[in-house]
């Protein structure tokens, strides 16, 4: 179980632009739950992910995994059990390395990065099969540099890389936002597939309400550092996109949009 307890996050503390985003914010996520988080810009969705991953410091509170605090762990140490896919398709791979080199990097996660050969030729067939299952024609492009591939292809590989080794949590930061609708659908379907197959606990920030309702076991709506809507289980099953949209428009009105 992932728990955020009494989180306080202040941007630009002590300056004229000081902004208190979270004030004793708490959230519990059950193991194996696929949580979709929606909300307007500045509502704290991405900050929430960054706090879990340790990418930004917090002023108070605690992040716990299975009851144990991870607040003192460095970001890279937390990623030992986490995978993350970013909005920008270029962020999840190394553009100047080939796809095979990228996949090998991900495959070696959790192992010692010593003087072993980076690329394990015996694994190539498995990489190819995994790429084949993506259905994007990537299986013949192992020797192509990542930078030469399209955004959708890169994002598919990013997803594959983030989930290649055993992990508990998958952090998805608007990972379909930069893709065309068809590719976004494909990536979303693949995401769902890997989350279910590997029984991952997933947190997905998205602006696509349809994805949130369709794929999330639980839907959270955030507004100015607060959870303003939280639907899970039976309650979530009876929630439609229209319900979410109505609530979303309400908070937008309150903001004066």
């Amino acid at each position: 179980m992932l728990e955020m307890r009494d989180i306080t996050k202040v941007y630009n503390p002590g300056t004229i632009t000081e902004q208190r985003l979270f004030d004793h914010f708490s959230l519990k996520v059950e193991e194996g739950q696929f949580v979709a988080i929606v909300g307007s810009n500045g509502s704290g969705k991405t900050s929430l992910l960054n706090i879990i991953c340790g990418s930004i410091p917090i002023e108070g509170g605690d992040v716990l995994v299975g009851g144990v605090s991870i607040s003192r762990m460095k970001d890279y140490q937390r990623y030992a059990t986490m995978g993350r896919v970013y909005q920008n398709p270029a962020a999840g791979t190394c553009p100047n390395l080939t796809m095979l080199e990228n996949l090998s990097l991900a495959d070696n996660k959790g192992k010692a990065f010593g003087l072993h050969r980076a690329i394990d030729r015996r694994r190539v067939e498995q990489y190819r099969e995994q790429l084949l299952s993506l259905g994007l024609g990537l299986e013949d492009k192992l020797d192509v540099k990542m930078g030469a591939l399209s955004g959708g292809q890169r994002q598919a590989v990013s997803l594959l890389m983030a989930t290649m080794t055993p992990l508990k949590f998958l952090i998805l930061d608007e990972h379909t936002a930069a893709l065309d609708p068809k590719t976004a659908d494909t990536i979303m379907r693949l995401t769902d597939q890997v989350v279910r197959e590997k029984k991952l606990t997933a947190l997905m920030v998205t602006h696509n309400l349809r994805y949130a309702v369709e794929y999330g076991d639980r839907v959270l709506m955030m507004d100015r550092g607060h959870v303003v809507l939280d639907r899970a289980g039976e309650e979530k099953r009876t929630t439609s996109i229209d319900d979410i949209l109505t609530r979303f428009n309400q908070i937008s009105m309150e903001c004066g949009n």
Binding site: Y76, C94, P95, S104, K109, F113, L115
Partner: protein, 313 residues
């Protein structure tokens, strides 16, 4: 004339060791490491003092490597752990090393006298290459040395550690999500790079039998120029029909896609050749650094890489 060409070639080969170091920091890590200007004479100072004290010539190589590695570790530490900007971190190391080099060599100049054996005249070298003239021996020894380092680097870049090093310059955030500390990887890169630069200083000291405190000035600029020339020429070549044709032929594929290290050796030799050419045309030796700087400027402008990140091959 032939002698001049060969001695320029030897210079280019030996100085390619600096370019290897700069290739790792600048091209792979995107870190313009000015510490190079201090690490290079560090290798020479250590070598000069050890040779005059009668230490085995070949032993100066691993000692210089280790000293350079330490200097790189220092730059890496102040950049990564103390969060000093990369350019400043290098400048701090360079400045500190200036005094350290004076201390090691016990003065601003140290000459190794003719009676002392260098790696080019040591008994072990003579037993293998005794039939050659000194010039030929220098060529053979430096060629073997450079090719060995190149081969080791090529192998290293394809290890897990080497791949991670290439990844950290390409996308440091990805390295973090691989649960690895990007700072440590950067420090490792600086250690390897500075070790190689100090080795260059060591071999140059063997070659010219002297250390001078100012011999480091402009060496980063030289390394950068060599790397940029080499990489630019290589990307030009790999896009050509000839290279594309070669890549189709089984067994000749490697000729169609040369490695970054090969490009760097080529760049180094070409750059030394250009400078030698300028000197032969009558430019006084005092103008050497001026030429070095102007040639570098020319290279930056012509290659269209006006100081921005260079994409490693």
């Amino acid at each position: 004339m032939a002698d001049l060409l060969i001695s320029t070639l030897i210079q280019g080969l030996i100085y390619a060791l600096i370019s290897f170091g700069v290739y790792i920091t600048y091209s792979i890590l995107d870190f313009p490491d000015l510490g190079v200007d201090g690490t290079f004479p560090l290798g020479a100072a250590i070598t000069a003092i050890l040779l005059t004290r009668g230490v085995n010539a070949w032993l100066t190589l691993p000692i210089s490597l280790a000293a350079g590695a330490l200097a790189g570790l220092f730059t890496g530490f102040i950049h990564v752990r103390l969060k000093i900007r990369n350019l400043l971190a290098g400048i701090i190391t360079m400045t500190a090393l200036f005094s350290i080099n004076l201390y090691i060599a016990n003065g601003s100049n140290l000459t190794v006298d003719r009676g002392t054996d260098t790696i080019f005249t040591a008994p072990s070298t003579m037993s293998l290459l005794g039939g050659l003239t000194l010039m030929e021996r220098k060529l053979v020894v430096s060629l073997v040395l450079i090719l060995t380092v190149k081969l080791v680097l090529d192998l290293y870049f394809n290890t897990r550690s080497g791949l991670l090093l290439r990844a950290v310059g390409d996308n440091a955030d990805l390295v973090t999500t691989l649960a690895k500390d990007r700072g440590s990887v950067k420090m490792l890169g600086l250690v390897i790079s500075n070790a190689l630069v100090a080795l260059a200083g060591c071999v140059v000291c063997h070659e010219q039998r002297s250390f001078s405190a100012t011999m480091g000035t402009g060496q980063l600029v030289f390394g950068l120029a060599a790397v940029i020339i080499g990489i630019s020429l290589m990307s030009f070549y790999t896009a050509s029909p000839a290279a594309r044709g070669l890549r189709q032929v089984r067994g000749l594929r490697f000729l169609g896609s040369p490695r970054g290290t090969t490009a760097v050796i080529l760049g180094s030799v070409l750059y030394k050749l250009c400078i030698q050419l300028a000197l032969s045309m009558g430019l006084p030796p005092n103008m050497m650094k001026l030429i070095t700087a102007m040639l570098f400027l020319l290279v930056l402008v012509v290659s269209g890489r006006k100081g921005e990140e260079i994409i490693h091959a």
